[in-house]
Amino acid sequence: MVTSNFDYFAPTSVDEATSLLSRYRGEAKVLAGGHSLIPMMKLRLAEPGVLVDIGGIDGLSYIKEEGGGVSIGSMTTYRELATSSVIQANYPLLADASARVADLQVRNRGTIGGSLAHSDPAGDIPAVILAIGGSVVARTRRSSRDINIDRFQVDLLTTALRDNEIITEIKLPALAAGTGTAYSKFHQPASHYAITGVAAVVTVSGGTCTDARVAVTGAGDKATRARRTERILKGKELTQAVIRRAASRAAAEVEDSLNEDIHASAEYRAHLTQVHAGYAIEQAAAAAG
């Protein structure tokens, strides 16, 4: 299978890249790792006239501790995330989820920025970042803005990113003392994408859950916070019963848009979401101590 023809640009700076996006606004697509875009182009589900390859821009691949949080360059690969001691120490769920994206080859190539920008409804990273919180730094030729991750995923394969913007960085906040994290996923047997994946970030203080962010991927049309689940957890001691009750509401936010395909019916997806929410919250609570 062959993609359609396109014009190709390999800018060496963000300025150059964003200029190109402005110039070819509407017909240009950003090529990061390419592992979401190229398969779609081969199937001719995407036929961009222009590709702006940001792989040649230096300085977009880094993991930096700053201001208590961590900043991640958008071209950082899954493999770099999975093996980074900074990520492992600060956001174990991100390291763990990255280690389980697709396969070894894809992890060498796929990037955090690419995953967020593509916003596959079954991608792992969008849910994980959503559970951690933080923001996405989007640059145009003239400006730069931080998009709160809670407002980043808009719809199926659609984000708040404008078509002349490039993600340059993901800013993750410091997690409070007593915070545990976990990502639990049930993968589709052929594509290895998530049928459902649940990311949980839970803070426990004095035996009580003081904060909880839980996000679900795979079940609906985009990664989504499970706010009802979070509300049940907050302010309570995380007993088995509380976790079970919270997990049972994990699919509530996506129940009107549950995916359904030959691999999982809507009903089964909802069930798996609850099961994996239970696993993720329990693991996160255990890690929180």
Binding site: S4, Y8, I38, D53, D103, Q105, V106, S191
Partner: protein
């Protein structure tokens, strides 16, 4: 519109003028005539086309040749030094890690990368490590054995 690129493949620099849409797999096979890299699917699943790009295993059907401009690529043809095989190649031969041989170049390239990342993998780690490479002949058993043997030989 053609794009000028230079890709260093198995140690030799190859300047070429290519269509941007030319996949790296096809560049290797059809421009450089390195037909050891196989194409087994069109959705980035099967891994038969795995090569090393700047030392890391990638599926060359999901990389445009233009993205490899200036990069170092190693293919299956670049592994053996004459008749002296790498431990992985030797392991595949000794342990009967191949039957029809079509997935083998990609499987070997992934195995090489896996052992570089993890020189002493457990059976589960080997199985997870090659989960992005399909083989329809062997049931993977002797491939797992082959990689295990290569790890042992390398230690």
């Amino acid at each position: 519109m053609s794009t000028e690129i230079t890709v260093t493949v198995n140690g030799t620099a190859h300047p070429a003028s290519v269509e941007p849409r030319l996949l790296l797999a096809h560049f290797l096979r059809d421009v450089l005539n390195l037909t050891g890299t196989h194409v087994g699917c069109d959705t980035s699943q099967c891994g038969a086309c795995t090569v090393h790009l700047n030392g890391e295993a990638v599926k060359s059907c999901t990389v445009f040749a233009v993205q490899a401009d200036g990069a170092e690529v190693t293919t299956i043809e670049g592994l053996a030094d004459g008749d002296s095989y790498t431990n992985v190649q030797q392991g595949f031969w000794d342990e009967h890690g191949l039957q029809c041989g079509f997935c083998t170049p990609g499987m070997i390239m992934t195995s090489e990368a896996l052992l570089k990342q993890n020189p002493d993998p457990s059976e589960d780690e080997i199985r997870a490590g090659i989960a992005g490479n399909y083989c329809r002949c062997t049931g993977y058993q002797n491939i797992v054995n082959a990689i295990g043997a290569a790890a042992k030989a390398g230690s």
